[in-house]
Symmetry: C2
Subunit: 123 residues, 2 copies
């Protein structure tokens, strides 16, 4: 199957599809955000931060029972994306959800998705 689009349109419902189409750029940036969220470690980090305001790398690793590498790496990714922010106190870095973090993202979307994925896994 090549990329040939000699395709004579069967239903003209294609028009509706084109009308409701998400631009490539938007889909791209949304996909990048979802990619960031689509990791078990990062998800658990977000939920952990949401329930305790502030945590350092080592304590987070302990709480989630993950390696400090994983904790540090996850926090770096989330920080780079602007979802969490850091504060230094001596030799300890404390991380928290960023100002303006959409808490509804966790409270509604993700918990709802959790329900969905639970349903799917029971099938």
């Amino acid at each position: 199957m090549t990329t040939s689009h000699t395709h004579p349109v069967h239903p003209a419902g294609v028009e509706r599809a084109i009308a409701g189409t998400v631009p490539r750029a938007d889909a791209q940036s949304l996909a990048e955000l979802l990619t960031l969220l689509a990791d078990p470690v990062r998800l658990r980090v977000l939920f952990a931060l949401a329930s305790t305001e502030e945590l350092c790398v080592g304590d987070l690793a302990m709480a989630l029972e993950i390696s400090m590498d994983q904790s540090s790496y996850a926090l770096k990714q989330l920080r780079t994306a602007g979802l969490v922010q850091a504060r230094r106190d001596g030799r300890v870095m404390y991380y928290r959800l960023a100002d303006g973090f959409p808490h509804q993202l966790l409270d509604h979307c993700l918990r709802q998705l959790l329900t969905i994925s639970d349903q799917e896994n029971r099938t």
Copy 2:
């Protein structure tokens, strides 16, 4: 940095983190669902299907200006996950969002995430 957890807890906010912890299995299945959504092609396919009820592989490819391989592959993934369902009519396969598909997922969550990712990209 090894996996050493000789970590004496600094703040006992670790307790709160542990309390609000998402189980590994839940985080895993949620991450899998998010991984499925975290692709530009699949996202655009979902939005396209949401706006036109039913589409075949070729027409979808034409509407989104993607290859038929991409269209077919994306639909297969989404179908395997149970998010879309298929109907055969002659030699044409028509795809639609699955019965019980959480339309709010697109209408609320994803469009909201789109706004967020837009904000981040403007930074």
